[in-house]
């Protein structure tokens, strides 16, 4: 079994130490950092995502794999940056103003951090201004908004409207989630995506970061 295959399999099993060792080994063997990233780590996470959807593995296993991937990314990051390949992004998360429910938002944060993203968690009851201020000052690429109440959902529209007012809408991607939310509502308020769970939120952020 070659190094990249071993690396992929260890990452899928969540063996962070082995992933770090094998990533270094692959680098030492002369593998291109982008090849290690795409073939072993990203490819391995695609398998993890597939297995999760098929209920062959569960959320903790996804998180362990994501953390293991992170261990490999720590070694690849300087090399990728040197090659001019962006590797990481920052996400601002929060439960919108008037809403105190944060379990779903916290789970998204855990999974994003596990996958190697930087997460700026603004907590609960977050005003539109606070979302935008943080996103701009932290140079975030994605804002993740959560709401449990139908009465607080409209705040999400206000956040996006404020981004337009401040002329930063094009620099940001808005993802939304929460029990009363839907794809249709997300489209209606001009959000970029609706995510029905934490794993889909991570996939979504990865897409946006990649596109960015």
């Amino acid at each position: 079994m070659d190094t990249l295959q071993q690396l992929s399999e260890n990452m899928q099993k969540g063996n962070a130490d082995q992933v770090a060792r094998l990533t270094q080994q692959a680098i030492d063997e002369g593998c291109e950092p982008k090849t290690i990233l795409d073939d072993a780590l990203v490819g391995g996470m695609a398998v993890v995502g597939y297995k999760f959807k098929k209920h062959e593995i569960f959320l903790p296993h996804v998180l362990l794999a994501a953390k293991a991937m992170h261990a490999g990314m720590d070694l690849l990051k300087p090399l990728l940056v040197k090659d001019g390949i962006p590797t990481i992004g920052k996400v601002v998360t929060g439960t919108v103003q008037g809403d105190q429910h944060d379990i779903g938002k916290n789970l998204v944060g855990i999974m994003l951090k596990g996958a190697g993203f930087e997460v700026v968690d603004l907590g609960r009851d977050v005003s539109p201004e606070k979302f935008l201020d943080a996103a701009v000052s932290e140079k975030a690429i994605v804002i993740g908004m959560s709401a449990l109440l139908t009465t607080t959902m409209p705040v999400m529209r206000k956040v996006i409207a404020l981004a337009h007012e401040r002329n930063v809408r094009d620099q940001l991607k808005f993802i939304v989630g929460g029990a009363p939310m839907s794809k249709e509502y997300a489209q209606k308020i001009g959000a970029d995506a609706y995510c029905y769970d934490a794993v889909s939120a991570v996939e979504c952020v990865k897409r946006f970061i990649g596109a960015h």
Binding site: G14, H55, F58, L59, P60, L63, L64, K67, N106, L107, I110, A179, M181, S182, K183, Y194, Y196, D197, S200
Partner: protein, 485 residues
């Protein structure tokens, strides 16, 4: 602690048993089988040959109870232990002998064919929470005189799990025994490692037919386990009260116990039944009625009090489709049965007063069985004390998703059901097609049947089984068996 439920006090149990014994001794039991009457007569029962009544004695009853084993095990067709019928152990088996199948495509009930039966056995092979198979349906495309043995044949050909079955005639016992001997190799092996349980039913009130009583002694001769299926109908063929019906159930079951234990002391038996209240509006025998379920649990308590393993037809429904009624009646029954410690709970897959089988329901019921088994495993500490370190970890890490403790006990503590049970949030459910329970269950049936692997019996044994069955079919005028491959 294992959770339990009780419906009867010890005092009431003893009173019911005493009343039942009095019925057996003073009213007697009508038995339409001369050999059984002679057997009882040989053991000092008074026999009235004109009315075919046998009047039991306290001694016969006591000796039968002493002789009957308090537990036994079933073994699969490869000889592996599969079902432990002891103490408060709970095992599930599908309902049996449905004359119809619920066709998923048409949603109509129709007569089952051999192909339906094969699909069922293949499905049973993969349902891990249902420990044994039953001869669940009666295929309508074979001669009726082989419809009992043919079910057993198909079950053995496609699934290794032990089989709860029964003979419809006296003659059928022979071929059904031979099929088992073909698998086990000898009478000794069959006696030591039982492969089947035969259901034997007295007739309410206090009667045994020629066929069923003969089946009891034939099974006893080969130490093939028997489950007694007494069926008092409260308010019709039994007293309206649950206690009165339990007295009748006890008397009928003890009479069956005596027949087997006098034939072969120590022969394995299950203290079973299928009592029901009688619905005086529809003239039906609802298995999903709460009174029916209470009787099942109560007679199991009586059986356990007598030191016998127990069985019941509970965990099934009278609904005609896989609807909410099917779910709630099945779940309620299975839950109560497990809390009562009924050792062999028969019912999964069954609808319509035990007359219609649904493969889709069987898949759903497999999940019910799993949840119920999780329930009776109870709540036990698992490295929970002292609690402080765990909560320190929670506060430090901000979650316990990948804590060692979580990873160690996740599967043991939390039963995660298969795809038949909808646990997705609404958006994901919609994205995955907004499928109904029926659609999910049907998809799971097809997926599991497709994954079926051939049984581990040798080609020689499989050939012997087919040869025996073909010979039996020819005896009844069928030149060939239906195509099943």
């Amino acid at each position: 602690m294992r959770p339990t439920v009780r419906f009867l006090s010890d005092q009431l149990i003893e009173q019911i048993i005493a009343e039942a014994r009095e019925l057996l001794c003073k009213l007697g039991v009508e038995i339409h089988n001369d050999a059984v009457l002679a057997l009882l007569g040989d053991h000092s029962a008074r026999i009235d040959n004109a009315t075919k009544r046998a009047y039991f004695t306290p001694d016969i009853i006591d000796r039968s109870l002493q002789a009957a084993p308090d537990s036994f095990r079933l073994y699969d067709s490869l000889g592996n232990e599969a079902v432990d019928l002891s103490d408060m152990n709970v095992n599930f088996t599908p309902g049996s002998s449905a004359i119809n199948i619920l066709d998923h495509e048409s949603q109509h009930s129709r007569r089952p064919t051999s192909k339906d039966y094969v699909k069922y056995t293949k499905l049973m092979a993969s349902l891990e929470h249902i420990a044994s198979q039953s001869t669940a349906m009666v295929p309508a495309d074979v001669h009726e005189m082989i419809s009992d043995s043919y079910r057993l044949y198909l079950s053995l050909m496609f699934c290794e799990k032990p089989v709860v079955t029964g003979a419809f005639t006296i003659e059928a016992f022979e071929i059904m025994k031979e099929l088992q001997l073909a698998v086990r190799g000898s009478e000794k092996e069959l006696a030591e490692c039982p492969l089947t349980i035969f259901s034997c039913c007295p007739t309410a009130p206090l009667k045994w037919s020629n066929v069923t009583s003969q089946n009891v002694i034939d099974c006893a001769r080969y130490s093939i386990p028997v489950e007694y299926i007494s069926m008092p109908l409260s308010g019709f063929m039994a007293p309206i009260t649950l206690v009165g019906s339990l007295v009748q159930h006890t008397a009928e079951t003890l009479s069956g116990l005596a027949i087997s234990q006098l034939s072969n002391p120590g022969s394995p038996v299950l203290y079973g039944g299928s009592p029901a209240v009688f619905d005086v509006r529809y003239e039906t025998t609802p298995m999903g009625d709460i009174g029916t379920m209470m009787m099942d649990c109560a007679y199991s308590e009586i059986g356990k009090h007598l030191g016998l393993p127990t069985q019941a037809y509970i965990g099934l429904s009278d609904a005609k489709l896989l609807d909410a009624q099917a779910g709630f009646e099945t779940s309620m029954g299975a839950t109560l049965a497990a809390l009562s410690g009924i050792n062999n709970i028969a019912g999964p897959g069954m609808l319509d007063f035990e007359s219609c089988f649904s493969l889709e329901k069987l898949v759903l019921d497999n999940e019910i069985c799993a949840m119920v088994k999780r329930m009776v495993a109870g709540i036990e500490p698992k490295e929970d004390f002292p609690s402080l370190p765990r909560f320190e970890e929670l506060l430090r890490e901000e979650h316990l998703l990948i804590s060692e403790h979580t990873m160690k006990y996740l599967k043991e503590e939390v039963y995660l059901p298969g795809p038949t049970i909808d646990r997705a949030n609404r958006s994901r459910w919609q994205e995955e097609g907004s499928r109904t329970l029926g659609a999910r269950a049907a998809e799971q049936v097809e997926a599991l049947v497709t994954q079926h692997q051939p049984v581990g019996l040798s080609e020689t044994v499989l050939g012997d089984l087919t040869s025996l069955m073909e010979t039996e079919a020819r005896r009844h005028g069928m030149s060939r068996l239906p195509e099943i491959r």
